[in-house]
Subunit: 238 residues, 2 copies
């Protein structure tokens, strides 16, 4: 119908549509079966196709899984990136990204489990997942970088970082990776505090989603909000 559409022929349009529908149905099944219960046959059945037909779209089950993983990383990356620019001020941006990450995880618990839960046995993530996987951490990195230039990062928070040793070099390497273009470097100790706070975020979300808070802090909205405040202070953001 529309010649401006990405696929020009009916075939190309149908193909793009089905690639989407297959992933959609597969995502729906993730919720029921978990990542390694995902079955091509079941997906095909739900779409009213025969299982062998799926091989026109994905080379194998692992291929489909990879597509789902990439989509999940990208969706989370989108949410995190959007949150960075949703408010002003380093501390508020940091909090906004934390809230966005949690909101995405609560809305998509099975995709969250797919990328941050226990690894699927026998599945080896291909190179193609690395880029999408790094988008969410980069959103945090961007906040830090900007906070350095704007003076919104205090240098004296927390216990001092040893100035030598493996941790110092690991942190330096990461800081270098962050300093794409001519952005100023983030001090190693702030970077390490940020990483600690970043792991805190995911520990909390995992505990909430995987049921470790049942009977104590569930629902965890307030605990989460409080933790985010504490962690923003801990990182040294203003």
């Amino acid at each position: 119908m529309n010649p401006v559409h990405a696929g020009h022929t009916a075939r190309e349009r149908a193909r793009a549509e089905l690639l989407r529908e297959i992933k959609e149905e597969a995502r729906r099944q993730l919720a029921v079966t978990g990542a390694d219960g995902l079955s091509l046959r079941a997906v095909a059945r739900s779409l009213g196709m025969v299982s062998s037909a799926l091989y026109r779209y994905y080379e194998s089950r692992d291929d489909l899984l990879t597509a789902l993983i990439v989509d999940a990383y990208n969706a989370l990356g989108d949410a995190a990136t959007a949150a960075v620019f949703s408010v002003d001020g380093a501390a508020r941006r940091w909090a906004a990204v934390c809230q966005a990450v949690r909101a995405w995880a609560l809305a998509n618990p099975h995709e969250y489990a797919l990328i941050y839960g226990s690894p699927v046995p026998g599945y080896r993530a291909p190179e193609a997942t690395i880029g999408p996987a790094s988008r969410m951490p980069l959103a945090f990195g961007r906040i830090l970088r900007d906070a350095v230039s704007s003076g919104e990062l205090s240098a004296d928070a927390g216990d001092p970082l040893p100035s030598e040793g493996p941790l110092a070099s690991q942190a330096a390497a990461l800081a270098g990776a962050l300093a794409e273009a001519d952005a100023p470097g983030v001090p190693a100790d702030a970077l390490v505090r940020a990483v600690i706070s970043w792991t805190q975020l995911f520990g909390m979300i995992s505990f909430e989603l995987f049921g470790q808070f049942v009977g104590s802090f569930q629902p965890a909205d307030d605990l989460f909000a409080h933790a985010v405040t504490q962690m923003t202070t801990f990182v040294g953001l203003r």
Copy 2:
């Protein structure tokens, strides 16, 4: 042979032995297949038995899984509890328990994934797991409680906790549960900081084990040690 042994008859001894061997073999298989790839048939095969024979020992696959989960919680609980008494001083005890938890997780990654990874789809943990699951958190709770009586907990660390609202009541309920016997209560804000730090611990261990640090902070020994120091300060322990 030995009449003092728990099982008196040859049958009882053989039975106890096999219960152990089945779990042992099942644990070995967890490492390869993951929790929901665990197969009774494969376990039986490795033990040179026929699959139906396992039903003399475990009522079902889920039963065996439950036994493994209970064992894992208990092993972690043992490690954490032992660490509490391995050193003196609240701060050093806290750090010791953190290190013990991580050491156990690194030594038993698949059992860690079993209890702190994504939930096994279709498996509902029975009541029997609750007790063992709470032993590790209780080890941390004990340190807090003792730190209150000995004055090793500062009251003024971190951002203040809202004195009313859901978080305050959740924390109060948890404090009440901790105050078994006539132990003094732990202040709500310290308790919440402890919970935040506890989630940090598991976020970090999960990232390390599940491969999120690959290419940056792996090996994570130094990052971990530093984080523990920071978190001990954050909780307010001396």
